[in-house]
Symmetry: C2
Subunit: 233 residues, 2 copies
């Protein structure tokens, strides 16, 4: 019982025991759109990469460097980008200068992209056959992981400034990733970050997880990322 403020309420929490059965309908509607997206991408032979990270881990900078000189460029094949943000089209503006087609989706108060954002965006893009579709999700290391968009692979980015223990603290983002990209390695001399410790935490969750280490600012390590993308079907 709560004695401090004298309210006399028991310490049970109504939120823990409520069930909202109607959610099942929403899940079914979501699943339909996911399958739609998957079929749309498969029909065009386009793999889709869902980039997930905390805000400021360097998703946009990585894509800028990856896509410079589109179509083709260092990627060697065409690409397009779907960018999610709560507000602004800043990232889309930055990426448009690469020459790749870009669609910005604003989520407002929303914390992740939904399959219908990707559906909307796919219908705004004129995708060449075999293009890679990069989905730059909203900067959030938690929620985007739980929403299937119809993508081929999840890539989780972690910057060295965030701390080496983050895979252990945010396990869901690392558990199902097809690749981990450690970003901003040019800052390693200035921060306390133990790469070995970080990778042990990540591979405790996902034993076969490939890891690429790079700095999109200096270009160091970009080859490993481009090689991984080259094998993506």
């Amino acid at each position: 019982m709560c004695d401090t403020c004298g309210c006399g309420q028991p310490p049970e929490h109504p939120l823990k025991i409520k069930r909202i059965h109607v959610v099942r309908d929403v899940r079914e509607a979501r699943a339909d759109i996911v399958e739609h997206n998957r079929a749309h991408l498969a029909a065009l032979g386009c793999p889709a990469v869902n980039l997930v990270s905390a805000p400021g881990a360097g998703k946009t900078t990585l894509l800028e460097r990856t896509l410079s000189g589109q179509p083709g460029g260092s990627l060697g094949r065409p690409a397009a980008v779907i960018v999610g943000d709560q507000a602004t089209d800043n990232d889309a503006q930055r990426l448009t200068t690469t020459g790749a087609p870009v669609v910005q989706m604003n989520t407002g108060t929303g914390c992740h992209l939904e399959a219908w954002h990707v559906h909307d965006a796919l219908h705004q893009l004129d995708l060449p056959t075999g293009a890679i579709v990069f989905i730059e999700n909203v900067g959030n290391l938690i929620c985007p992981v739980f929403f299937d968009l119809g993508q081929t692979a999840n890539v989780v980015l972690l910057s060295v400034t965030e701390g080496d223990e983050k895979p252990e603290k945010y396990p869901e983002a690392f558990r199902d990733a097809a690749l981990m990209v450690l970003t901003k390695v040019d800052l390693l001399p200035h921060v306390d970050f133990d790469r070995g410790r970080c990778f042990r935490f990540a591979r405790a969750l996902n034993p076969e997880l490939p890891i690429v280490e790079l700095s999109a600012r200096t270009g160091e390590g970009m080859d490993g990322w481009l090689e991984w993308l080259a094998e993506l079907r």
Copy 2:
């Protein structure tokens, strides 16, 4: 109509038009717990500070430095901490060494603390009258902002490694903050971060927003943060 994959589905999105009326009950249950927390804290004369930021912005490091030598220490008054994380009690272990009482709440797949987490934690803490209760929310610059915990003030942390445009891109976190703390200023020489640009974006959303710049690693700027806390009632 979607022609690419031949599914013939219209581009409307069922998720947009669904309404889940039962959510109202959940909101009411939440509001009751929020009021309970607020009364509990008021009865003890304890202000509560909800720290919100992206993962790795330095919430725990700031609290370590703030609370060293508890009870009392550089803060000059007792304090306690409620720590939210998806997994691990790493942050609580770090903070316990300061001498302050600490309760860790794990959210599992959850992306933010709920009022009932704080309620549970308050009933585990033996709070001295007038102590500051720091609530270190889950690392997420979006979701925690939308859940009232009964706190006195929201403090948003942004690290200089995340980029100067973040207030514009994640406006909700900055709009209602009582204070913004710019962290990791020791890294300013190594990153592209325009302080003036960042502060303009933040104050376009929240014109009177006070801003403290500090490095919890070097101790630079900690006095401004301690002064702000000293005035908190």
